[in-house]
Every structure is written in structure tokens, then in C-alpha cells.
């Protein structure tokens, strides 16, 4: 029977839906899962089509899919693709909640039925039952599975009644939502009333669930795989260190579970399989439990019948390729007929055994968002994560802390540990669940606070707290010995120290490391793949390093943790370059520590080191491997930051050398190169003290771009327009002004910003030009960018000349990105990054090449051009738009500025700029073509907004706000504006600048009620034009057709 089902799909066409731009809650994990699924399909001879607007992904690169549609993950666009491609099946479980919701929309609109497209994997009925809060509860009750006491409600009145019945505090959850959107804990009726409207606005089915709040209970998650014949296995169990009440995406988690005994583990395991059965799972799902820490009582909380963040984590933590297996299952495979691709001899029907500990820690960037609430809660706010592997809890935990790249050397010995924080301050931080609580816990123990007390404050299991406490004790002992008096070899003290996972910075000595492999079976069966990690708690390597492959060994660095400014685009470059490197080396290794990536699939390169991207770790690995070359530029800035050290260890670089990197990164050195080449740059100075600052401003005048050389809470980049701005800014930094320099740069208002993504062999340059729609002053990561540059021919020529000059002056080899400011026809250089850049997947795809392939060519063969600049021909327009996650960052103020705040991007091609801009903008959530009314307002003199209003008037009603009125629109009060948004009467809000004092409410209201929000006048004006000329998007084309 299985055979017949499989034959159904041979030679057919299947459409896979991606997750769109990266936002908090939907990140690069879906690039990993989609890419694996596409691989699984292609192995079966299936023709694959993908729809995804996220241009930065590997899955939209013609590596894994045959047809790539760079289009919004929305019904109207997918429908056109279905009409054109006529796929036989559709996969909606590999693109997060976005893909699932799009799939449900397509079905409900009759599109799937009309075109006879079958949903592969779990049936829609099962998905609905899993995601609808009340349906799920009913289904669970019918199977005698206990869920937390709760009631579903569709109105505010019902909600309040339900809460009264359950008793406060209650937890409110929203159906069909990702990342805990709209959920919150209400301790009182007043609090519930306050938050409820926002929750309903976030619910696509107008349904919420009011649940008894199980604060302090343990949160446990199981990952289940199941085939259509009912065979099921649990691939991983994840234990959250943070108890219930903290979203699992915000939790520090450990795999395998550490504090569950056999009874707990298997009682929940059995239920998780029952839940999978109940929803008719075919593929993979997670099941979340709340477990009473003082009894055997537990409840099922929820299930996600799709690949998820946690399934990506489970895949990396165990080596079990969940997305690949899940895709095979959806075609009709039996689970036990699928091979375990790690051992190659056993079956995929088993439950991985781990002989190591993995820890995931989220990464937050909340300081970039002024006023955003910084306490961890039921809604996800983190934007990235790391996973560390160790042979002890302490080792994994300390590695993970280092991987976060927040400047902390581990749990102890860093900034927080050595700070002067008092007991009271620490207790308050722990009580209010601030990010990175474990660093404060370590500090608490150093201050003599007992683990029991920290447990009381945080709800974290004492097992983990005792371990951290123990580590603090050992560290304090070791610290006093520092270096010289290390414990003798073979003593218990040495063994203990090794197991704690300290780094050189912490204890001043470098310890031996050993390389172990992940084989899914805890050593019972040899691994046939090289999925590796390092540990000090060992005495032997798993693999031999004796053999020297014929064409040598290369190491490619990944991007590490994702954060604002570093995301999936750097995974694209690492993966692309690792593939290209195979042409020159026999063995290519990747080093990365981010579980949400394609680069950390063990089959992306010959070897995967899932470990810290630090000079110390790389040196240790290199002592064993003796790499013939290391590519540092692939993962973005993280590699450049350690380039000098690596070079000092004698490592050979693939591409630009470390001294060139150093010259391009050091502000002073770079500035003098610019002068030497006689090129223009905005005046700048590193000034310390009030006088120096004022002197510079006297010389160049306002506006000024300012950036402190130390970390401030709140954004660090600021634009100052006046003396008043300066005074305010000085007040916020206080006495610091006398201690460390501020970098001041002259800012040119009303300038255009442009960029080039290039590769060079030091002589010639292959480059792709781009221009920003927003004027200069908006961070390039937050700008709407079009390719190619079309503003002025003379400026373009100057940009080309500059790119060529820098490439030879800096003797660069490989990729670089260069940014320009154009003011009154004059081109200024503002930045050069000698490495892969954020925009390279976009620029590459704009012309249908892969800059990483050319980087390889440039480095190993030369570009074969005659010292010239060449830009491949653009045959159509392409635009990329930033995706912001304001919604998840409660109380943050949506604004554009020199500090980057977006989390992702969408891109689209078009026959015209308008079409490309509009399609690209529609690829971003929650954008849609506005109906209802528009509210447009801004500072007086913002002509662009006035233009937008004039254009939009022909389409919809346009209102403006009294505080910041614009022409051509009917003024209303702020209160009326809030009211209109809440009532669903507003289709779009457009504004400009930072008007926080007066319009915080309106911007937040728009975000909280899912209303498209445009934060820049130029963009507003161009978009309005595009709305008016809006097409019906009938003519969809795949990427190739635009080249």
C-alpha cells in the first residue's frame, strides 16, 4: 500500500509554501525545514515549486527547488502560481504559521479544490482541530486527554465571564497564532479588560482561550513523528528551564530533558503520541505540556502540526533530520522504511539517544527599542538563538552564553558578574524575568544568595540552579589560582574544571579539547556523517585527523547567532560559499552554532562543527585539523572581528587578508585611505568631552549623526538636528561624555543612499548597484531598496570608480559591500565592509547570479577582466522591503532611523518599479492594499506625505491628525484616530520622522491592530502611486523569467 501511495507522486509537481520575511517567531528555521523538504522531494523525482518572498533564503536560490516564485505568502499570489504551475500537491507544513494560514485560506476559498491540489501531510481538518483553541480542547476531551482548565470565548463579555469562573490569574491565548501573539497573563479583571481588545485584533478567527494560569509549572515539549499508517516515535524531549508563563521561544531549554524520571517522561510521551493520533498527524508535530513540579499531574497545553522552531532545534539537537523525514512521510512512506541518514544502516523509526547535553538560549536585542517592555513573558521577543553542545550541563551552558556574542565569557567572570549590582537589584532583575536571567543568577550566587531564593524568584528548577551555584564556587576557587597554579593533571580538581566549560578569558588557561560526533544512537552505531562538536569533558577524539586529503581542507565560518542586522542572508552566503569551495578543496568544514540554519545541516558540507565561532575554539580545532584555508568573510561581521587573532595563529585566509580587513574596519585608517585616494567622505570626528563635541559641530553644523563607543540603553545611533537635540542627548549619556569618545559624523539631509555589492580579485570588480527609496538617515537594513541604481549616471560612474579604487588599495579578494551617500550630485563614501553583506542574496538574485560563486572565482582564478568594473545586466526591476516586528515588542515605538530595527525582508520583481515596490511591500506583514480610510500625518513641511495624501484621495478617504496635520486631508483628533483604528475603519497609517511625544499611541495602535504602517514620507508617496496603478497580479513569473 505504501508503494502505491508513493508511486502517485513520482514525476509529479509539488508546491511548497515558505514562511515569508523573518519576523520574531518565524525565523530562518523555516529556511532549514523548507530546504530539507525540497531535497526530500527531489530525491523522489518530484518537480518542486516554492513560493516565498524572503529573498535572503537558501530555499529561494535554485539550489533546492526547480521553480522559485519570489512572491508574498498570500492567497492571491499563491493562487496565481497554482493556476500557472498546476501542481498536484501542496506542502504547507514547512513554512511556519504563515504557510499554514495561507494553506487554510487557499482551501477555504476553494482554490485547492478547484485545481485539484492535494494537501500533503496532515489533513486540514486535523490542522484546524489542532490550532483552533476550542476545537482542540474538545478533541482532547473526547480522547480523555487532560488540558489545562480553560474556556474559549468569542466576545469580550464571554472572556470576562470565563475568567471569573476560572479565577484569576488567567492566561489568555489566541487561536491560529505564532509566537504567542496577543497572549498575556491577567492577574485581575482590569488587566484582562485592558489587553483583550488587542488579543481579539490578533485573532484571525476572533477566538481566544482563557486558561487557568499555571505559573511555576514545568514546561516540557515532545517532538513526534508519525506516518499515515499510525507508526509514531518521539524524536526529542525538550525541557524548558524557564517555567510556564515564559514563552517557549523565550526560554532557555535543554535537550534531552534532565529532571524527568522514567514515569514522568513516558507518561507524557504516551500522551504526545495520542495527541498526534487525534489530529491525524502525518509528518511532525510538537506537543507542549505543563507539569506540576511537585506531583505527577500534567496537562497538554498545545500542539503545532507542522515544522516549528522547536522541531528545527530538535533536529539539530539530535541529528535527526525531522523536516526531511516529515516530507517523506507526507508522500506516503512508512516511518520504518525511511533510512536513518546518520548511520545509513538503521531505520528512521527509533528515538534518538543523546550522549551529550544541548542548550538553547534565545538572543534578545531589546536595547535597540526604546521603551519596549524588557520582561520576558507569554509573547516572544527574542530574535535569534544559539545551541551549544557539551558533555556536561555547565559546559553547554557556558558555551551557549559565549555564542550569544553579548560580550559575556560564560556564566561567570564577565561584565554582569563583575558588576557592582546589589542583592536588591539582582533580586529585582530576577523577579521581573529580565533577559539572560542566568547571568544574574550566577551573580546572585556570588553575592551569597541561596539557590532556593533564586528558585523562588524565577521558578527555575533547583537542579539547574544548584549546578550554576556549584560552578560559581569552582570558579571562585580557580580564579584565585589563575593560570600558574592550575590543578595537576589527573586530579579530581582538574577533571571538575574541565567539565565546567570555562574559556581562557575566565580562568586564564587554555585546556585541551576533544572532538566528538553526534550519531543519534549514543555510540551504539557509527555515524557516517561528520556532525561534530568539541568538549573538554572527554579523553579521546571520535575521529582521526591523520589523513590529509589530496586537495586540502577548508573552514567556512557561519554567522553565529542571529540578531538585528545579522540574519538568514549570512547563512545564504556561508552555504553558497561552502558549496563553491568544494571545487578547490577536498574537504570543506562549516563552523556555526545557530540551530535555525541550513548551514548547520550535517550534509551541507563535508564536516559540520556545531560550536563556538571564537578565536579560541577555532584555534583548538585547527590544531587538530590543520586547515589549509579559512573563509572568515562568509558569516558577516563575526568573522572579521576575529580575523586578526586567527591570522596571528598562522591560519591562512581564503579571500581578503586580515590586515586589509583591519584597514577597512578601523575608522581612522579607513578615513586616511579615503583621503589618500582623494575621495569624498562626510566629515567626522571621534570627540571626547563637551568642548570637543561643540567644536566639531561649530565647524560642520547640524544635523549630526552621533554614535557612542560604548553601550547605552536605548538606541545607540542618533540623528541630532539642533542644539536642543544635542542638549537632550548629552543629558541621556551624562558623565560618560568625558570618559569615552562619541563618533560624530556630518549628516547631509535629503541625500540619496546607494550601495554596491561586489566581488573583486583586487584588480577588477563585479558589482551590483542598488539605491534606497528612503532618504539617507534610515539604516540600510531598514530601507526599502531597489536594484539597479538609476538615479544619476555621473554618480553611478563615480561609485564604480570608488569601488575599483578601494578594491586595489585594500588588496581585497572576495566579496565586499560599499555604501554611498549622494548629495547634490556629489558622491560620498560612507561605509565599506570587506565581507559578505546583508544584501548579497538580494543583489545576486536581482541579476540571476550568485556572488559567492564569483567570490570563489575571484579568489582562486581571478575574475578574468581587465581592471574594470562590470555590472551584470538587469532585465527587470526588483525591490526589497524591510519587515519589522513591532507587534511582538510591546510598547516599542515604531520609527525609522540610523539604528537598524527590522528583523527581516521581502523582495519582489516587477515589470515596473511600481509593481516591484508594491509586490515587495505586500510580502511584508501585515501589509495589504488599503481599504477603509487612510490616516496620514507628519511634521509640517513633509511634502512627500502631502503628495501621498493627494494621490490616495482618489482611492480612499484620507484623514490627518490635528497635532501634525498635512494638506489635502480632513483633520481629526488623536483620540478619534485611535478610535477609528480600533473599530477597524483604517486601512493604512502613513507618517514620517520621530514624533514620539505625540503619536506614540497612534503608531502603537496601528501595530497592535495589524494595520499597515508606513514610517517614511518618500516611501509613502511612492507606495501611494503604486496603489493607484495597482495591477491584479495576474501575470506571475518565477525568478528565472526575470533574467
Amino acid at each position: 500500500m505504501a508503494r502505491e501511495r508513493l508511486d502517485l507522486w513520482k514525476g509529479s509537481k509539488v508546491l511548497l509554501i515558505g514562511s515569508g520575511p523573518i519576523k520574531i517567531g518565524e525565523a530562518a528555521e523555516f529556511d532549514y525545514s523548507g530546504s530539507q523538504a525540497l531535497k526530500a522531494l527531489r530525491e523522489e523525482g518530484i518537480e518542486t515549486v516554492i513560493v516565498n518572498s524572503n529573498v535572503a533564503t537558501v530555499q529561494t536560490s535554485y539550489i533546492s527547488a526547480e521553480h522559485v516564485y519570489l512572491l508574498p505568502v498570500k492567497r492571491r499570489f499563491i493562487e496565481k502560481v497554482i493556476e500557472k504551475e498546476k501542481p498536484k500537491g501542496i506542502m504547507i507544513g514547512f513554512g511556519g504559521q504563515s504557510a499554514l494560514n495561507a494553506g487554510i485560506d487557499l482551501n477555504d476559498a476553494g482554490v485547492l479544490g478547484k485545481h485539484g491540489v492535494k494537501v500533503l501531510g496532515t489533513k486540514l481538518g486535523g490542522i484546524r482541530a489542532a490550532l483552533g483553541r476550542s476545537d482542540f480542547k474538545k478533541l482532547m476531551e473526547s480522547k480523555s486527554i487532560r488540558t489545562a482548565p480553560s474556556r474559549a470565548a468569542k466576545t469580550e463579555k464571554d472572556t470576562l465571564a470565563a475568567a471569573r469562573e476560572l479565577g484569576y490569574p488567567v492566561m489568555l491565548r489566541v487561536s491560529f497564532n505564532l509566537a504567542g501573539r496577543g497572549s498575556f497573563i491577567a492577574k485581575s479583571e482590569a488587566a484582562l479588560k485592558k489587553g483583550i481588545k488587542r488579543s481579539f485584533a490578533q485573532s484571525r478567527t476572533s477566538e481566544v482561550l482563557i486558561e487557568k494560569y499555571l505559573g511555576g509549572w514545568k514546561e516540557i515539549e515532545y517532538e513526534v513523528v508519525r506516518d499515515m499508517y499510525g507508526n509514531a516515535a518521539v524524536v526529542a524531549c525538550i525541557e524548558n528551564l524557564d517555567p510556564m508563563g515564559v514563552h517557549t521561544g523565550e526560554s532557555t531549554v535543554v535537550t534531552p530533558a534532565q529532571t524527568l524520571d522514567n514515569e514522568d517522561y513516558n507518561a507524557m510521551r504516551a500522551i504526545s503520541i495520542k495527541v498526534a493520533e487525534a489530529i491525524g498527524l502525518v509528518g511532525e508535530c510538537n506537543v507542549q505540556f505543563a507539569l506540576n513540579p511537585k506531583s505527577r499531574e500534567f496537562y497538554v497545553i498545545e500542539t503545532n502540526p507542522r515544522m516549528s522552531r522547536s522541531s528545527a532545534l530538535a533536529s539539530k539537537a539530535t541529528g535527526y533530520p525531522l523536516a526531511y523525514v516529515s516530507a517523506k512521510l507526507s508522500l506516503g512512506y512508512k516511518l520504518y522504511d525511511i533510512r536513518n541518514e546518520v548511520s545509513k544502516v538503521t531505520s528512521a523509526f527509533f528515538e534518538p539517544s543523546l550522549d551529550y547535553i544541548t542548550i538553547k538560549i534565545p538572543r534578545w536585542d531589546l536595547t535597540k527599542f526604546e521603551s519596549a517592555s524588557s520582561s520576558l513573558g507569554t509573547e516572544m521577543k527574542s530574535i535569534g538563538e544559539v545551541m551549544a553542545i557539551g558533555r556536561s550541563f555547565e559546559e553547554a551552558m557556558q558555551k551557549a552564553v559565549r555564542m550569544l556574542d553579548i560580550g559575556e565569557p560564560g556564566l561567570v567572570g564577565g561584565r554582569i558578574y563583575n558588576s557592582g549590582l546589589s542583592r536588591t537589584e539582582i533580586e529585582s532583575i530576577l523577579r521581573s524575568r529580565k533577559p539572560y536571567w542566568f547571568l544574574y543568577a550566577a551573580k546572585a550566587f556570588a553575592l551569597g544568595i541561596k539557590p532556593e531564593e533564586v528558585h523562588r524568584l524565577t521558578g527555575v528548577d533547583l537542579f539547574f540552579l544548584n549546578k550554576i551555584n556549584n560552578l560559581v564556587t569552582i570558579y571562585e576557587k580557580a580564579k584565585n589560582l589563575k593560570g600558574s597554579a592550575n590543578p595537576k593533571k589527573g586530579t579530581e580538581e582538574e577533571e571538575q574544571l574541565n567539565r565546567m566549560g570555562f574559556c581562557g578569558q575566565q580562568i586564564g588557561s587554555h585546556q585541551d579539547i576533544f572532538v566528538k560526533s553526534i550519531d543519534t544512537l549514543a555510540g551504539e552505531c557509527p555515524a557516517r556523517v561528520n556532525y561534530l562538536y568539541t568538549t573538554r569533558a572527554a579523553s579521546e577524539d571520535d575521529i582521526s585527523f591523520k589523513e590529509k586529503p589530496k586537495n586540502g581542507k577548508a573552514l567556512v565560518l557561519g554567522a553565529g547567532v542571529f540578531r538585528i542586522g545579522v540574519s538568514v542572508e549570512f547563512d545564504w552566503s556561508a552555504v553558497s560559499f561552502a558549496r563553491a569551495l568544494k571545487k578547490s578543496f577536498s574537504e570543506v568544514s562549516i563552523l556555526n552554532c545557530n540551530p535555525e540554519t541550513v548551514s548547520t545541516d550535517w550534509d551541507t558540507a563535508d564536516k559540520l562543527y556545531f560550536d563556538e565561532i571564537s578565536a579560541e575554539t577555532i584555534k583548538s580545532i585547527d590544531r587538530k585539523e590543520h586547515f589549509d584555508g579559512v573563509a572568515v568573510f562568509t558569516g558577516g561581521q563575526i568573522g572579521n572581528n576575529i580575523a586578526e587573532k586567527l591570522s596571528g595563529y598562522g591560519m591562512k585566509f581564503i579571500g581578503t587578508g586580515s590586515s586589509s580587513i583591519g584597514r577597512s574596519e578601523d575608522r581612522n585608517k579607513f578615513s586616511s585611505i579615503v583621503e589618500k585616494l582623494n575621495l569624498a567622505q562626510p566629515e567626522w570626528r571621534a570627540a571626547t568631552g563637551k568642548h570637543a563635541i561643540e567644536r566639531f559641530i561649530d565647524e560642520v553644523g547640524f544635523p549630526i549623526l552621533v554614535r557612542p563607543s560604548y553601550i547605552l540603553s536605548g538606541s545607540s545611533f542618533k540623528l541630532l538636528y539642533s542644539q536642543a537635540d544635542l542638549q537632550r542627548y548629552m543629558a541621556t549619556i551624562g558623565k560618560q561624555v568625558h570618559r569615552s569618545p562619541l563618533v560624530l559624523t556630518k549628516f547631509y539631509s535629503d541625500s540619496i543612499e546607494a550601495e554596491m555589492d561586489c566581488v573583486t580579485d583586487s584588480k577588477s570588480v563585479l558589482g551590483i548597484s542598488m539605491q534606497h527609496i528612503e532618504e539617507a538617515g534610515v539604516h540600510s537594513g531598514d530601507a526599502t531598496i531597489a536594484a539597479p541604481f538609476s538615479n544619476s549616471n555621473s554618480a553611478y560612474e563615480e561609485m564604480k570608480r570608488m569601488a575599483l579604487l578601494f578594491s586595489s588599495e585594500l588588496e581585497m579578494k572576495g566579496p565586499f559591500n560599499i555604501q554611498f551617500l549622494i548629495n547634490r550630485g556629489k558622491v560620498y563614501i560612507i561605509e565599506l565592509n570587506s565581507r559578505a553583506s546583508r544584501s548579497m542574496p538580494f543583489s545576486s538574485k536581482s541579476v540571476g547570479i550568485n556572488l559567492m560563486d564569483y567570490a570563489h572565482k575571484a579568489i582562486f582564478e581571478g575574475l578574468g577582466m581587465d581592471g574594470e568594473f562590470h555590472e551584470p545586466k538587469h532585465k527587470s526591476c526588483i525591490v526589497k522591503s524591510p519587515q519589522f516586528s513591532w507587534l511582538q515588542l510591546k510598547d516599542s515605538y515604531p520609527v525609522l532611523g540610523p539604528e537598524m530595527r527590522s528583523t527581516g525582508e521581502a523582495a519582489a520583481f516587477g515589470k515596473t518599479m511600481d509593481e516591484a515596490l508594491l509586490t515587495s511591500w505586500l510580502g511584508v506583514n501585515p501589509n495589504h492594499i488599503p481599504g477603509g480610510s487612510a490616516i496620514i500625518y507628519g511634521k509640517s513641511g513633509t511634502q512627500h506625505l502631502g503628495k501621498a495624501a493627494a494621490v490616495l484621495k482618489g482611492l480612499i478617504d484620507v484623514f490627518t491628525v490635528e497635532d501634525y496635520p498635512i494638506a489635502n486631508a480632513q483633520p481629526i483628533s488623536s483620540a478619534d484616530a485611535l478610535n477609528m483604528i480600533e473599530k477597524g475603519k483604517v486601512g493604512i497609517v502613513m507618517t514620517d520622522n520621530d514624533l514620539k511625544k505625540k503619536d506614540f499611541g497612534i503608531r502603537r495602535q496601528a501595530v497592535d491592530f495589524n494595520i499597515p504602517l508606513v514610517l517614511n514620507g518618500r516611501l509613502a508617496s511612492q507606495l501611494s502611486d503604486a496603489f493607484v496603478k495597482s495591477t491584479d497580479f495576474n501575470d506571475v513569473k518565477e525568478m528565472k523569467e526575470y533574467y
Binding site: D261, N262, N266, F350, S353, D355, G490, E524
Partner: protein
């Protein structure tokens, strides 16, 4: 926590240093590893580990302490341990931890001390496991003194009758509590785990645990509705006496069930052959397929000997198959009214997927004796 140096030496000349925990004494036994990540109280009290030193592949052991003993209702049998005491001879871990949870009575270390079982930590258990996998099971000694390795020469695990040490000397009666009993099941006790005794009790039958060498007639005199050949330690081929008793009992057609060692003994009694494996199966994560309906299950394993497909008895059919190798995981023999499992349907530690086998056995008993 300084405790002092200890050594692990194996017969093939491997010596590695670690540190003492648990009881301070010497231990010798067959060196085996389990890949189960949880359930150390259950594993270590499983009588099948008699004569063996157990290596845990998961690096942390002891995280939730050791629970207070809880009794199976109406009996003296602990429900959360597989027998009264730790049965393994010694314990090897990378790290032992001192965690406790709400139902703990002691830490892992103090339990080992109380039970007089030595442990060694600070060992690269992954390297050791790979060694055992590649070179096969070895005999090992845990000792302060690495010179004690010479003891290994005289130790022959395969020739020792461990069953004798763990089997009751006289019949033990367990009464089903509450309801009226449906009959009596006799368990030939080779070192039976409390786990399946508990599962059998919950079918509503009284249980009599008979000594391993009870003559067939003595067992028949109990008037059993069913007979269970349970698990136990060591080499099945040493237990000739038990095997011929089993042969006699099988011929009566009384519904019977074999688990682990019991499965192997029943197979030998019916003419099958059991052979020593290279390093055995000790895990809770193994897939098997039920050949009646082709459904697959995750099962618990603890065995160093196995029946392979070409050695099955003529009257039996393969009921359960291993997915990953050619080990026969269970037999059905209509003629003799017998079902067997190489794996542990009671699990403990492990997944509950195959508890339905006790219901199969229940139905067999309800259908009664079959003429052999």
C-alpha cells in the same frame, strides 16, 4: 566531594582512570552500556544486570535522585524499582549528580553507598562505549588499584549461573488486590522485574513466582491459567534444567508468555538456537515491527544473547522483528499456545507502546488451554 582515584580495567588491556563514588569497593563483571537517558533506578535494580557493570552513555546520571519506595498495592513489591536492590555490580558514568525531586529519598551517590555498589565517574563514557561497540563486550574491573586487572583472567561471565543468585528459593505469592481474582499465573522467576509482575497483576490474576528450577509438575500443581517465563541475567544455554521443564510445560498447551530470557529459553526448548551477541542491546529506543499487522513500536531492550531468524524453532512463527538487525524480537507458537518477546513489554525504563501484549496474553488465558 574529593573522593579519590579509581580505575577501570578491561580484559583486553584497556585501563582508564576515574574517580570513586558510591561504595568504596572493588567490582568485577561484564562491561555493558545502556543508551537509556533516564530511568536509572529501574535499570540498576533490574536483575538481568546481575554480573554486569553498567555504563550509562548519557553523561549525567542522578539528576532526580532516588525515590522513596512505593509498593504495588496489596503486595510487598516496590512499584518504582524492579527489585529490592541494585543488581548491577558497578556503575560507570561521566558525571554523577546530586539532584533530588519531590519524591526522592536520597541522592544517587548515597543510594549506591547504601546498596554497597561502587561507581566510577570522570570517564569518557562515549569513548568507552565505542570501544565496547567495536571490540565487543569485555570483562571489566573497577578498583583503586590498576593491578587488580589480573582478576579478569579467571572471570568467566558466560559460565556463571547468575539466575541462581536472583531467583527466589521458594515460591512467592502475590495476591491481586480488591477484585475477585480471575485465576493464577505462575511466573518462572529467573530474576523477574517487578514491572511485568505489576502488569500481570493488573490483568486480575494472582501471581506465584516460582524458583527458576521448579519441576514442571510443581508448577502445574498450582493450577495456572497461564505461565510466564520471565527475564533474567546471563547465558540461557546454562539453564538446561529450566529448559527441559519449559519443554514439558509448553507441551501442556497452557497459555504462556516468554519475556527476554524467558523468550530465549522457550525458543531453545522448542529447538531454536540462542547465540551471544557482540555487545548486546540495552536501550529504550529500538523499533520493532509486529508482523501480524506491520505496525511498528518503540521498545525497551536488555539482552546480550539473541535468537536470529535462521535459528527459530519449527513450530513457531516470527511475531515481532527488529527493524535494524536480524534479531527475532518475538515468536508466536499456536501449537504450544505461546507468545514471546525479546524486548520488555513492561518497559521500565522505557516507552509504553507494547503493553498491549499483556492484553494478548489475557485473551489467550481467557480462551484457555489448547491441546498441544
Amino acid at each position: 566531594m574529593a573522593s579519590g582515584k579509581s580505575h577501570l580495567c578491561t580484559r583486553d588491556g584497556f585501563i582508564v582512570g576515574g574517580f570513586r563514588f558510591g561504595a568504596h569497593k572493588k567490582a568485577i563483571g561484564e562491561l555493558v552500556f545502556t543508551t537509556s537517558m533516564t530511568g536509572y533506578p529501574e535499570s540498576l535494580t533490574d536483575p538481568s544486570y546481575k554480573g554486569q557493570i553498567l555504563v550509562f552513555t548519557h553523561p549525567l546520571v542522578g539528576n532526580y535522585g532516588v525515590p522513596r519506595k512505593k509498593l504495588i498495592s496489596g503486595t510487598n513489591l516496590p512499584s518504582n524499582f524492579e527489585s529490592e536492590h541494585i543488581q548491577a555490580e558497578g556503575v560507570i558514568v561521566s558525571e554523577y549528580t546530586s539532584g533530588t525531586k519531590w519524591d526522592s529519598e536520597s541522592t544517587f551517590d548515597s543510594w549506591l553507598k547504601r546498596e554497597s555498589i561502587p561507581g566510577i565517574y570522570g570517564i569518557d563514557t562515549r569513548a568507552l562505549t565505542i570501544r565496547l561497540r567495536d571490540n565487543g563486550t569485555s570483562i571489566g574491573v573497577i578498583s583503586d588499584n590498576s593491578k587488580d586487572a589480573k582478576d579478569l583472567d579467571t572471570y568467566d561471565y558466560e559460565s556463571i549461573n547468575f539466575v541462581k543468585m536472583v531467583s527466589p528459593k521458594k515460591p512467592v505469592y502475590c495476591k491481586v488486590s480488591g477484585r475477585k481474582q480471575k485465576g493464577t499465573i505462575v511466573v518462572m522467576d529467573f530474576g523477574a522485574k517487578n514491572g511485568f509482575i505489576n502488569d500481570l497483576l493488573s490483568l486480575g490474576y494472582d501471581i506465584i513466582r516460582a524458583p527458576w528450577d521448579s519441576p514442571a509438575q510443581e508448577i502445574l500443581d498450582f493450577g495456572p491459567s497461564g505461565i510466564v517465563y520471565g527475564n533474567g541475567p546471563g547465558n540461557p544455554n546454562l539453564l538446561g534444567e529450566a529448559i527441559s521443564n519449559i519443554r514439558e510445560l509448553l507441551d501442556t498447551g497452557i497459555p504462556s508468555m516468554g519475556i527476554c530470557l524467558g523468550h530465549q529459553l522457550a525458543a531453545i526448548a522448542l529447538g531454536g538456537k540462542i547465540k551471544k551477541m557482540k555487545f548486546g542491546h540495552r536501550a529504550v529506543n529500538k523499533g520493532i515491527v509486529n508482523r501480524m499487522d506491520n505496525k511498528a513500536y518503540i521498545t525497551t531492550h536488555n539482552h546480550g544473547y539473541a535468537l536470529s531468524k535462521r535459528n527459530i524453532p519449527a513450530s513457531a512463527k516470527v511475531l515481532f522483528e527488529s527493524i535494524d538487525d536480524n534479531v527475532v524480537e518475538g515468536l508466536a507458537d499456536r501449537k504450544h499456545n505461546l507468545i514471546t518477546t525479546q524486548f520488555h513489554p513492561e518497559a521500565r525504563p522505557g516507552a509504553w507502546d507494547t503493553r498491549f501484549i499483556f492484553n494478548m496474553f489475557y485473551r489467550m488465558m481467557q480462551n484457555g488451554k489448547r491441546k498441544a
